[in-house]
Amino acid sequence: MLDEPVPVTIVTGWDARRTGELIDQLVCSLESRHIAVVGARRPNSAAAPAFFVESEAEISEQSAGCPCCVVRSDLVRIVANLTRRIRPPEWILLEAAGWTDPVIAGQTFLMEPTLAGLARLDGIVTVIDGSAVGARLRADESVWPDPLAGDQVAVADRVVVTGTPSTDVEDLASAVRAASATNGSAEVIVNLGGEFDPAEVLCLEAFGPSGAAVSAARGPGPTRGADRALSGSAAHVVEAAGVLDQGRLEAWLDALHESRDCRLLRLDGVLAIRGRDRQVIFQGIGSNLNRWRGRRFAPGEPRTNRLVVAGRNLDASSLRATLAECVAS
């Protein structure tokens, strides 16, 4: 029986073996805790999770003709049943590896009303194979083997670069640089196996008003980061000074969601809107967008707006220019 929603961490990454290894490490580290793993393969760790539920991503449209209003219907069913146990899991680790899209998994928890009160998304953790990224760079290939692999990095709250003690240090460094270039707002950590502190990737509380505000404040300044990654996935920082006109902002957000040239993956932002004496906090994943009232502005405090916008094929300079046009005259 639930006192509060069960936290869910999405563990994603292109290489299912590496995501599986991280889940194994977490299950071992949390051996005494009541953990559920939902994914395509049972963990190999010596310590078995309290629950393992095999799942294949089942994408379900929620609205006729709207290709982005989709949820994972398998998760709706699985999480509802797990959380109705007399002793529900303390944490759910959701594996979304390989071709599995973490955005659709994430938006399921934010969009699906039957999961409200049962589960809350804590964070998205993306696992990168440090050796593989190094090898791709040496072979002069694009860093990510598939656009979805880039999406998995761009949408992350934490990126875990994995390797072994014998992995080439240059390869690990290349992977860290590549991850940071794609998503400057995510903390990148290196994991060479062995003991792993679960606190590195759990209890992030990245979703919700406080998480969104923290995510929006993180990351590189607007002149650094991933501006050059026009044809790939990246998280961009977009800033504008002054108060925004509500109508123009809504049109800007609609255009971002509806653009056929790019794919909006995630948005975290703290904005100042004309006529409001408080900050407005935005957070969205995929087609979902939530907003909350933030803190009250101090007397005389300059009004600023800062967003971290993650997406595929986004043009950062265009984002900044068009957001600037939303500033109320």
Partner: protein
């Protein structure tokens, strides 16, 4: 449901507790044998037990590793089919014990064909039709997505399967693996309910759509669209009313012979979640519902919005089932309690 404030000023009927029992985990499925002498109870802990109707006797079946999701008695009450989350299903009988049915994937639903010993099992993306000895009569592997519900319609002529993006009508005897009819739906089809007169089939979807198909013509109608998934459906014994538990609402629709809604529905309750249990009485115009607020309520839809009877259980009601031929019902709760109550 709305809790104490929705209790009627005058309780027309009493709901009296007959007996209670406790299981190790949340009760996930209940099924009375057709003759009403036994009650099968499954839990999310993986256990299933058969109680005598007075609660005095109990027999445990072989436990499953993970939660039981579906129980179904065969028409004569000789066999009990059990399926659940551990990708396992079995046919159990008092004399022979359990006969495992080989399946792949989570078993969401089970249904015996009317007046037949054929059992349909929904397991992952597959449906298999077996006899009680687990020999396969027909199989339908690799459907579009997880099969969430199945039902025998047309008096057992068709096996109807609700999956991702489609509802299929299979004819296991004639058509082999080819669907005799397919209706495309948006998103996942969650629930199915054939009308008692076998003329219509109601279906609920995750996106909130409620559809009704005419069995003779195959023509479907979207009756309405709710804010959230339509998880539970129940027809009145004469097929004149359809109760619908969607996220946030409990409605009862009057439907004509073609499945078209006659007027607006009776809205019996606004809920903060999907109802755990919803069932019309097998032979009277009474509807029972129980949900997260821990209230069991019984209405006579069409005679007023207030319930005829209410009982506070004190914890989430996860499922319920009317006792055949009697004004009594069993309900299960999230803490593993099983209560049998009588409508006085």
């Amino acid at each position: 449901m709305t809790g104490p404030e929705c209790r009627p000023a005058t309780i027309v009927h009493d709901l009296r507790l007959s007996w209670s029992a406790t299981r190790a985990d949340a009760v996930s499925a209940l099924a009375w044998s057709p003759d009403g002498t036994r009650l099968a109870v499954g839990s999310l802990g993986g256990d299933a037990a058969i109680f005598s109707a007075d609660g005095a006797g109990k027999q445990e079946t072989d436990p499953h590793h993970e939660g039981v999701l579906s129980l179904a008695w065969s028409g004569g009450g000789r066999w009990l089919a059990i399926g659940g989350q551990s990708s396992s299903a079995c046919v159990w009988s008092p004399g022979a014990g359990s006969t495992p049915i080989p399946v792949r994937g989570w078993v969401n639903d089970l249904a015996w064909a009317p007046r037949s010993d054929r059992l349909a099992v929904a397991a992952g993306n597959d449906v298999v039709v077996v006899r009680p000895d687990a020999s396969v009569v027909a199989d339908y592997p690799f459907l579009e997505g997880t099969v969430n519900a199945l039902a025998w319609s047309g008096g057992g002529r068709h096996l109807v399967v609700a999956t991702l993006g489609a509802v299929h009508w299979f004819d296991p005897v004639v058509a082999g693996r080819r669907a005799a009819r397919t209706a495309k739906v948006v998103g996942a089809a969650l629930s199915l309910a054939p009308s008692p007169d076998a003329t219509r089939l109601a279906g609920g979807q995750l996106n909130g759509n409620l559809g009704v198909w005419d069995e003779a013509t195959g023509r479907g109608t979207v009756v309405t669209s709710y804010d959230g998934g339509v998880e539970r459906l129940s027809w009145r014994y004469d097929g004149r009313q359809l109760a619908v538990a969607a996220y946030g609402e409990l409605d009862v629709w009057m439907l004509d012979a073609k499945g078209t809604a006659v007027g607006a529905p009776f809205c019996l309750a606004e809920t903060d979640a999907t109802l755990g249990g919803l069932a019309f009485h097998p032979s009277r115009p009474l509807l029972a519902g129980g949900g997260r607020d821990g209230w069991l309520q019984v209405w006579e839809p069409g005679t007023g919005d207030d319930p005829l009877a209410s009982l506070e259980v004190g914890e989430e009601i996860t499922t319920l089932a009317w006792l055949p031929g009697a004004d009594a019902l069993a309900l299960g709760t999230c803490s593993g309690a099983v209560h049998v109550v009588t409508l006085g």
